[in-house]
């Protein structure tokens, strides 16, 4: 007994680090397989990120060398009304569009999850819009939404509504962007569909035997069981929504027409970098966005412990 205990402590203080010959080869192969990805991550993500942090502390106008200015760019941001307007618009956009997007995607996934002869066909059709560039999609929607000649307003008028000018009414324009951004739901829907199809058939049937109401099963069984997919779609959705750009640029140009109603954070950033060549300022904006989204994501992951159920989790 004493000997055993002694051996155990010895083992604990010097854990067996040595790998067998096969293990070492395997480790090397694993490292080699991961290498291209690690090189890519370093060159295309980590180095630019560090560069951005640095450039944010300089005055840099593309030509000439960057000049160190400390926190001046951040100070300029603090008093820039366009930055504040765009931040407000972007936050509104994120808060409204992400939940709507998730709810619609979940609804579609629930419909697609029903076994019918055509479900494979529908799945393909729902994924197709995602293959179309966002610019092209946005332009098509703008044509549809043209105030007098657009089919949407013609239809709404025929039904007795008085539709807004989707693109020029400051109250409506931001909602138009939200609408545009909802359109390619393919990926979110497929992620949810994957989650739904992972729910064991007999668990779902047990729920049918426990309560006849469909929404009971949805709220207490289905949604908790796809909570990892909800978390994934939520985090990705937030990251992307704070970077909304294409739709905003197509609808509002670089000035956020009408009346800065559609001015988005990324548009102001783009404008600073490529119109005013104030790259240092743009880098400061990018840094703030990065830190903000990072904190938000960490916050969501923190709360996720209480509402996300992972398979294999025994807590």
């Amino acid at each position: 007994m004493a000997i055993l205990a002694k051996e155990n402590t010895a083992g604990a203080s010097s854990p067996p680090r040595r790998l067998g010959l096969a293990g070492r080869g395997e480790a090397r192969a694993g490292f080699l397989f991961a290498l291209p990805w690690m090189v890519g991550l370093t060159i295309f993500t980590i180095i630019p990120l560090l560069l951005t942090f640095y450039i944010a502390q300089t005055k840099f106008q593309i030509v000439g060398a960057p000049k160190y200015v400390g926190l001046a760019n951040y100070a300029a941001m603090w008093i820039d009304p366009a930055m504040w307007t765009s931040a407000r618009n972007t936050m509104f956009f994120a808060v409204v569009s992400v939940p709507i997007k998730l709810v619609i995607a979940l609804g579609l996934a629930l419909l697609l999850n029903r076994v019918t002869a055509l479900s494979g066909f529908y799945r393909t059709v729902f994924y197709l819009p995602f293959l179309m560039p966002a610019v092209a999609g946005s332009i098509v929607f703008m044509l549809l939404l043209t105030p007098d000649a657009g089919p949407v307003n013609i239809a709404l008028k025929a039904l007795g509504f008085s539709p807004p000018d989707w693109l020029l009414d400051p109250k409506a324009a931001l909602w138009t962007i939200i609408l545009l951004s909802l359109w390619p739901l393919g990926v979110e829907t497929l992620v949810f569909l994957g989650g739904l199809q992972n729910i064991p058939k007999d668990v779902s049937e047990a729920a049918d035997l426990d309560s006849p109401r469909g929404w009971h099963k949805l709220v207490w069984i289905t949604i908790p069981l796809i909570s990892p997919m909800i978390l994934f779609n939520l985090v990705i959705g937030i990251i992307y929504s704070f970077q909304v750009f294409t739709q905003a640029l197509v609808v509002g140009g670089t000035t956020g027409k009408p009346a800065e109603a559609t001015l988005m954070y990324m548009v102001v950033l783009y404008r600073a970098a490529f119109r005013y060549f104030n790259v240092g300022y743009a880098a400061a904006m990018a840094t703030v966005l990065f830190v903000g989204v990072l904190l938000l994501t960490l916050l969501i992951f923190r709360t996720a412990r209480s509402w996300v159920h992972y398979e294999g989790d025994s807590r």
Partner: protein, 357 residues
């Protein structure tokens, strides 16, 4: 109260008819076992009673009410699944409480019912655990608890023990039998294991290829199989089935020429070809002079208190003999067998049993 009545029930998956017209009446409080080979439609029939599969033709009544078109949760049935089907994100307590809560039961009453059920099944200490943190046997007890807690009219079990190891299976089997005693509820239990069927059932329903072959008590099904299928399926080791022809005075002539007195029902059937069914325990080792058959041992299973001998006759027919444990016969030995015709069964050319009128 919890009687179950099936009338002309049929089920098709596409063009494949899986349940080919089942009429069945199960009395309140009865424990009925559906038994049959894999793929014969046991699960499908049970799931139709549960409402998890649509009924294509015929109707199903539970406690007198037609439930054919009713949602599963409105039928007053609870089901225990082969793979437990517990809600993985809930503790055992919540698994049990879920159905009660959704039915709008008050919190205190839910708690009382859950604890009472847990005590009955001795799973109280499992209540705070998630399914992942339980063994197979524990999960199955919780799954049974989830069925019991709702006090259904009818319990449905779909091979609930087949994922458990042999010792646990025997224990759970007796626990289900005890539950049936205590709850006095109607239970329908599906299994492909005929030992489970024999030990649990008030009545056995033998299914084959979507049809009911026989309904009867375990003893009826064992001693008076209705046809060759039941005879071959029920009983382990399986019944010996021997081709025979009827001669003068009902005497039987077996394939290898031996003649012997047949059971009462064979008289008056001279010239007919039949199948004689003899349980392995009706065959015994005898001196050569009294033997009805002789052959070589091809497999000897010595199980301690009994020995199972597989004997091959010179004409190729194989016979199974259940002998006492002290039999010394070994592989390759020549043995002589005597037939005891009490409980012998006879089957006509159509495979149906002949009954002595």
């Amino acid at each position: 109260m919890g009687a179950v009545q099936l009338t002309g029930v049929r089920k098709l998956f596409g063009a494949l008819e899986v349940i080919k017209g089942v009429d069945l009446s199960i009395a309140d409080g009865e424990l009925v076992v559906f038994v049959g080979p894999s793929g014969c439609g046991k699960s499908t029939l049970l799931r139709m009673i549960a409402g998890l599969e649509d009924v294509d033709y015929g109707d199903i009544r539970i406690a007198g009410a037609d439930v054919t078109e009713l949602a599963p949760a409105r039928r007053g049935v609870a089901m225990v699944f082969q793979n437990y089907a517990l809600y993985p994100h809930m503790t055992a307590y919540d698994n049990l409480a879920y159905g009660l809560r959704r039915a709008g039961m008050a919190r205190a009453e839910v708690d009382a019912r859950v604890r009472e059920t847990a005590a009955l099944l001795q799973i109280t200490e499992l209540l705070p655990r998630r399914p992942k943190a339980m063994s197979g046997g524990q999960r199955q007890r919780v799954a049974i608890g989830r069925a019991i807690v709702r006090k259904p009219e009818v319990f449905l079990f779909d091979e609930p023990l087949s994922n458990l190891d042999a010792a646990l299976r025997v224990e759970m089997r007796s626990q289900i039998a005890r539950l049936h005693q205590e709850l006095q509820a109607t239970m329908i239990f599906v299994t492909h294991d005929q030992v489970e069927a024999m030990t649990l059932a008030d009545r056995i329903v033998v299914l084959n290829a979507g049809r009911v072959e026989q309904v009867g008590t375990p003893s009826e099904v064992y001693h008076n199989p209705a046809n060759l299928f039941v005879a071959g399926f029920i009983g382990s080791p399986a019944m010996n089935l021997l081709p025979a022809t009827v001669g003068q005075g009902g005497r039987l002539t077996l394939a290898w020429g031996t003649t012997m007195a047949g059971p009462a029902c064979s008289s008056g059937m001279a010239g007919q070809s039949l199948t004689l069914g003899l349980r392995p325990d009706r065959l015994s080792l005898v001196p050569q002079a009294q033997a009805q058959a002789s052959g070589q041992v091809t497999l000897a299973e010595h199980l301690g208190d009994e020995s199972i001998l597989h004997v091959r006759l010179p004409i190729g027919q194989s016979l199974t003999v259940k002998a006492s444990g002290d039999v010394a016969a070994r592989l390759g030995d020549t043995v002589h067998l005597g037939f005891d015709m009490t409980h012998a069964a006879l089957f006509g050319a159509d495979g149906q049993a002949m009954r002595s009128a």
